[in-house]
């Protein structure tokens, strides 16, 4: 596999069919190292399926995905997943493990243990007190849980962070704060981040590049500025219209 210049994660004519339904339809895409890419689209547009094919929670029906110069199919499954941070809407903290054990699970699987100091450090990264380490997941609020979820995803020092509707179930205030925090971490650690969201405002504010998906295909690939300026076509502009309309309404109210 030759690595196209400037590409860290690339999709080459990737498809996925579920029976008669084509969820992802021949996507070709290059994401450079350090990029923060948002995948936006309506429900059923194929964005989650595309994301999950990177850490092979779903296997493609056709095409290749190359990560850091290696086809993901050639990397042993546990090893592949352990070097990718994964955060998703239902969080999936292990209910029988305390916060510290949840965060340390990735290194534990590879046979190393995290020091309490390192766990405390990871907790501070997501703005939680180090004392939280001994709490059980059912004692936490939804926002605290997803913060732990992010800390768990970072515990293995990944280069790539995949997020599937990470803030979808959180209240707006927590959502905003945690989004900002993740963006800061993305910059601080030089991560490559791919985030699936149905919220165009979130995508525009966090990502440096927004991909719009419709019926399994990428129909727009623009910077946030370009989208706001009206580029990207009909489907993309329909999505941008929602936050723009909301902003206009708010502006009217303040007059």
């Amino acid at each position: 596999m030759t690595e196209p210049a400037g590409s860290y994660l690339s999709f080459d004519n990737v498809s996925r069919r579920f029976g008669a339904v084509t969820a992802v339809d021949g996507v070709t895409l290059r994401i450079p190292k350090g990029g923060f890419v948002a995948l936006v689209g309506a429900s059923g547009s194929g964005k989650s399926t595309l994301l999950k094919m990177v850490n092979r929670l779903i296997d493609p029906s056709g095409g290749n995905i190359v990560l850091g110069g290696h086809n993901v199919e050639d990397i042993a499954l546990p090893a592949l997943r352990r070097r990718i941070g994964y955060v998703f809407q239902s969080i999936g903290l292990f209910p029988h493990m305390d916060v510290g054990q949840n965060i340390a699970i990735g290194p534990r699987l590879s046979g190393t243990s995290l020091s309490p100091d390192r766990i405390g450090e990871l907790l501070s990264l997501v703005e939680l007190e180090p004392e939280m380490t001994s709490r059980m997941p059912d004692e936490l609020s939804g926002g605290q849980r997803q913060r732990v979820g992010v800390a768990r995803a970072l515990a293995n020092d990944p280069e790539l962070l995949l997020m599937d509707e990470p803030f979808g179930a959180l209240d707006p205030v927590t959502r905003d704060a945690l989004g900002e925090r993740v963006l800061a971490l993305h910059r601080e650690f030089g991560l490559t981040t791919v985030m699936v969201t149905h919220d165009m405002a979130e995508a525009l504010l966090l990502a440096d590049r927004v991909l719009v998906m419709d019926a399994g295909r990428i129909v727009a690939d623009e910077t946030p500025a370009a989208l706001v300026a009206g580029e990207g076509g009909e489907v993309a502009q329909a999505l941008v219209a929602v936050p723009r309309h909301q902003a206009d309404r708010l502006a009217e109210l303040s007059r």
Binding site: R81, G92, F94, P95, I105, G106, L109
Partner: protein
Amino acid sequence: MSGLWDAIAGLGDQLAAHVLLSASAIALGIIVALPLAVWASRSPAVSRASLAFASLVQTIPALALLALFFPILLSLRAVFGEGLPTLGFLPALLALALYALLPILRNAVTAQANLDPGVIEAAHGVGMTFRQRLLLVEAPLSAPFIMAGIRTAAVWTIGAATLATTIGQKSLGDPIFAGLQTQNWVLVLAGCIASAGLAILADSLLGTIERGFRERRRGLWLGGLAAVLLGVGAAFFAQFGGDDDDSVVIGAKGFSEQYILARLIGQRLEAEGFAVEYRDGLGSAVAHSAAASGEIDVYVDYTGTIWTNQMKRTENPPREQMYREIAQWEEANTGMEVLGRLGFENAYGLAMSREAATFGEFNSIADVAQRGQAMVIGGDPEFFERPEWIAVRDAYGLRFAGQRNFSPTFMYNALQSGEADIIGAYTSDGRIVADRLVILDDPRGAFPNYDAVLLLSPQAAEDEALKAALLPLIDAIDVEAMREANYSVDREEDKLSFDEAARLLAERAGL
């Protein structure tokens, strides 16, 4: 009440055997169910098939399941050789383990199916292997539910294990079956209390383990587990601590006379320095096969039973000739030795109350065939299936308004209460005299002789010391002595225990 406590206190041996049998069956059930549940969680087809199978097993009555393992194991001897036991622990273990399978399997499969999909996605997402996912996530989260299934299985198994008595496995069913046989309710109650108490204890200990899993308190479940292991260990020690491997196993079918004769033989052998064990409550065919295969060493059978049931003969030769042919047949076909006749006959005969027989002028079976069509006939559970009944029925052309099965004890009560008008009685039964019954004549000689004979397994036949100890029993017991002993345990008041009745019989017979 003190009688009840004494009876319960005397059940130590049965309790230990019961604990070991139940624990082994549950352990085997767990060993089979858990891997099956893991497989089922990865394959809906396996899940459906295994649950359907376990549910099907559950619909088979426990007693029938136990009984079915005898022929199954017998046929498996073709594969595993003659050493494969067909009675006792092995078939009881297999049947009960099958029974224990369903609750464990169902709970394990349900627990796996109900795991939070988010947690499973996270397990995949952080890069767990199949093994890590199973051990670190699925097992700890399913454990309380699986434990609840094991609890259910334990309660069922401990209850059903009382039925193992019928296939020759010592259990808390021994006093229940013996007590039912002789209407000794103290004995039945003692068995029930011991078995129910054991079930409650097991349930609460396993419940402690379950709570420990659920509340993630290691001390709690480790403590519960330690208590369970301690109990099973103590039972194991009680069963195998002493070395009574070479004890003589005495078999008895499920009626009073057999229990008493087994004790008579046992007391004699113990006096001669042998260690003995009892396998009580065996079915007629089971007892014969058990002796032929060496599961039991010695038991009492009846010539007519062997003649018609084992040898499948239909003619009715004179007494001596039949005895000689049986001895030859056993030697040639099963290797068993017929040591001799005990001296009395316990024939099947058709019995009626004296009043009814006199009033209706029923003197012989021929009279019943002629004028008895309106009567209801009662018999023990085996009676109507036995070839000698079919021979008698066909010889006289007997027809009745109805036929009913009773346990031998209740059969006599049924005759008195009018639920049956005529019964297939045993001629050595003490209740024939006590209940003022008459045995109808058999002018065509359709019922064969039923001389009580002592049978030795092929192995026991080689043991000269054993044979010498048993020889004094030959021709020592007349039918009056046997009737008296039988009645002493069957009567409503002042019942003797089997041991006491056996001593009384020994005294009467001058042994």
